[in-house]
């Protein structure tokens, strides 16, 4: 009788795997201290500030212990998705605008309305609060805001006889500026914006259109996208924006973009991450508003740079809410965190923090100030499936830039894929 041995071994193995939960519930520790897990993405500077803020909170709340974990954005996305699939989401999570719909729609996030007492939101901008809502329910709170920007080399601008762009300048004026830069000897002065969905969105909004409709489907047509790509392709052929060979190397960080590699003197980017150019350009680095539509309609908007949410499965939602309240509403946290996660959404925190900023952060503050009251409300959080589309957009544009297919053909393909990917 050999078979039973095998079966027994396998059964034992399965039991071990399935009944192992017994060993897993270590979180109900004997002492009364509550442990919360807080996970976020960012760099070393953010890590230092966050640890300091956590320490301050723990001092004020001796019964709560906060365990932090951080990684870089790309790693973070995959790790969090795996945790969600494994039913092991940390109590406190930092989320990107693009993740909200997915995480809220799948009941990973707690309805923050249930914690209103511990977590008031009166001091936060109401338009921005909406960015953390799905179906009218507040699932996450924006922590900071940022906006799209043009980062450029002042020196080049001066040599080309250009003045600093003002809010409301148009895409045509932008193209003319590139022509002047080229005439001043700057070959291909600008990074080709055609590969990023973010810049397409700004262009689209400038014409009064939107990326996504209320139904969670694409709200633009293939013709819209084809026009945008035809526009960037024309500029590329004129020698005004980067070659396909350089555009394709962008992998997300400042350092591998054409401007970061000193092959261009201007580039679209989000305002805060543009600080990365400082290492290469120093004082010559400047920020300007994004180009607007033909009639001056602004396309750019205030976007939450990140949001914070509580896991629906958290066993200590009230303590978690208290920690969020500390981060998002307290003066102490504002003093420690500064504008590291973007300009604070909380009005009181903002007025406390902004006068103290230095260096490049002053430029960010200056840009946001110049746009104050001029921008339209941010769009609702992108629908589920948008995450994959963002990389498809960049992939597809390679085909346009390397001239393997016409803008129209590729735009049709993109919309076909968008229709199957978006899961409202």
């Amino acid at each position: 009788m050999r078979r039973p041995i095998t079966l027994a071994a396998m059964a034992l193995a399965l039991c071990l795997a399935l009944a192992g939960c017994g060993g897993g519930g270590a979180s109900t520790a004997a002492d009364s201290k509550v442990t919360l897990r807080f996970t976020w993405w960012g760099n070393a500077d953010r890590a230092a500030r966050t640890e300091k803020a956590v320490a301050a909170f723990e001092r004020a709340n001796p019964g709560i212990d906060i365990q932090t974990s951080y990684s870089t954005y790309e790693s973070y996305k995959q790790k969090l998705a795996t945790q969600a699939a494994g039913g092991d989401v940390p109590d406190l999570i930092q989320l990107d605008y693009r993740q909200i719909s997915q995480y809220a729609g799948s009941d990973v996030l707690l309805d923050l309305g249930t914690q209103r007492k511990a977590l008031p939101t009166e001091d936060m901008d109401s338009g921005l609060l909406k960015t953390g809502q799905v179906g009218g329910v507040q699932y996450a709170l924006p922590m900071g805001v940022g906006t799209q920007a043009l980062a450029y080399d002042k020196e080049a601008w001066r040599k080309a006889g250009l003045r600093a762009p003002k809010p409301g300048w148009t895409w045509e004026e932008w193209a003319d500026a590139l022509r002047k830069l080229k005439a001043a000897g700057y070959e291909r002065p600008m990074t080709d914006p055609g590969s990023m969905e973010d810049w397409f969105e700004v262009w689209l909004r400038g014409q009064g259109k939107r990326l996504y409709g209320a139904d969670g489907q694409a709200a633009f047509s293939a013709a819209d996208l084809a026009r945008f790509w035809a526009f960037t392709s024309k500029l590329r052929k004129e020698g005004l924006v980067s070659r396909a060979e350089d555009t394709t190397q962008m992998a997300g960080s400042v350092e591998d973009s054409p401007m970061g590699r000193k092959r261009a003197v201007a580039e679209f980017n989000w305002d805060a991450p543009s600080a990365g150019y400082e290492a290469m350009y120093g004082d010559r680095l400047a920020l300007a508003p994004m180009p607007a539509g033909p009639d001056g309609t602004p396309g750019q908007y205030y976007k939450p740079s990140m949001l914070l949410g509580i896991a629906a499965g958290s066993t200590h939602p009230r303590e978690a809410a208290r920690f969020l309240d500390f981060l998002l509403n307290s003066d102490a946290a504002a003093d420690i965190l500064g504008v590291d996660r973007g300009t604070p959404v909380n009005g009181r925190q903002r007025t406390r923090v902004l006068p103290k900023v230095t260096g490049f952060q002053q430029q960010v503050a200056g840009l946001q100030e110049s746009l104050e009251g001029k921008l339209k409300d941010p769009p609702a959080a992108p629908p589920r499936g948008d995450n994959g589309l963002q990389s498809t957009f960049q992939r597809d544009y390679d085909q346009v830039a390397f001239e393997q297919a016409s803008p129209r053909e590729v735009a049709e393909d993109f919309l076909t894929e968008a229709r199957t990917e978006l899961r409202p």
């Binding site: 050999r2 078979r3 095998t6 071990l16 795997a17 399935l18 192992g20 939960c21 060993g23 897993g24 519930g25 270590a26 897990r37 996970t39 993405w41 960012g42 760099n43 070393a44 500077d45 953010r46 890590a47 230092a48 640890e51 365990q67 932090t68 974990s69 951080y70 990684s71 870089t72 954005y73 790309e74 790693s75 995959q78 790790k79 795996t82 945790q83 699939a85 494994g86 039913g87 092991d88 940390p90 992998a251 997300g252 960080s253 400042v254 350092e255 591998d256 970061g260 590699r261 000193k262 805060a272 991450p273 600080a275 990365g276 290492a279 290469m280």
Partner: protein, 285 residues
């Protein structure tokens, strides 16, 4: 060596051989030189510069790297990497040799199908089983511990090494085992006293490959380790490059040079046994 005419003539192809090897080596080691040189480049040259040598020796990269990451010292990171790698080595050597002995020498039912299954496990891309495996480890309460990196090694899940040791054991003469059997040794004593010592070279090979591969692994560690206190060197390396904020490529290069040192030392110490081990392993198709 006597310096006769024939010796000189016989030597010249040897010299040519050395010259050829050195030339190939020069080309091959160039990227390594680039890696080390980059770790000394100032921030604005790390990725932008296309020259091998830095314009000035930027030792600040190493100062930053030596400080570790927020709240975790470099020493701690080394310690974590080392714990996981050594655990993995012990696990693989022990469990793979046990399984290999059964496949190579013992008779049992379903031996053929089970062996084929083992080989087939090499063929499935691991991304496909990542989520189910995570669920298993989560159920076992092992997330945020070193176990997901170490336990699989104690359960011989690295089929590559089982296969390697099986092939090695095939080449061992049976006479010794049979003699042991006649002396009254059971299969366990035969394994421990006769087979294991003879298999040592293959085990060293397994140990070296396991150490290097575990040391360099990133994916498993990323998924399973939560607290920075448990982070390894490869995880720490990645924290330097965050695309959503500012990156620090220089310190990343510096730390990856530092992270190389242990495996270089480990390899230099054992490479002699590596080839010796493989030479005796009788690897056959």
């Amino acid at each position: 060596m006597t310096f006769t005419r024939t010796a000189v003539r016989a030597n010249w192809p040897r010299t040519a051989l050395h010259a050829g090897c050195l030339l190939v080596l020069l080309v091959m080691l160039y990227p390594l030189g680039w890696l080390v040189a980059t770790s000394f480049k100032p921030a604005d040259e790390v990725l932008a510069s296309l020259a091998l040598l830095p314009s000035r020796l930027a030792t600040e990269n190493y100062t930053t790297a030596a400080a570790g990451i927020e709240g975790v010292s470099l020493l701690k990171l080394f310690g974590n990497s080392l714990t996981i790698s050594v655990g993995a080595v012990l696990g693989n050597v022990l469990s793979c040799s046990l399984a290999a002995y059964a496949f190579a020498r013992l008779r049992f039912r379903m031996r053929g199908p089970l062996f084929a299954f083992m080989i087939a496990t090499i063929m499935l891309p691991h991304h496909a089983v990542l989520i189910p495996q995570y669920i298993v480890f989560n159920q076992l309460g092992m997330v945020n511990t070193f176990w997901p990196m170490v336990l699989p090694k104690f359960l011989a899940t690295d089929a590559f090494f089982v296969f390697l040791i099986v092939q090695f054991m095939r080449g061992l003469p049976r006479e010794l085992e049979e003699a042991a059997k006649i002396d009254g040794c059971g299969p366990f004593r035969t394994f421990a006293r006769v087979v294991l010592p003879l298999t040592r070279p293959a085990l060293i090979t397994t140990a070296i490959f396991t150490f290097i591969w575990t040391w360099n692994d990133f994916f498993t560690q990323l998924i399973y380790l939560f607290e920075p206190d448990k982070y390894t060197l490869t995880l720490a390396l990645r924290t330097f490059v965050d695309t959503s904020s500012q990156s620090a490529y220089g310190p990343m290069f510096a730390m990856s040079v530092l992270a190389l040192l242990p495996i270089v030392l480990f390899f230099l110490a054992f490479q002699r046994f590596l080839v010796e081990g493989m030479a005796n392993s009788g690897v056959k198709g």
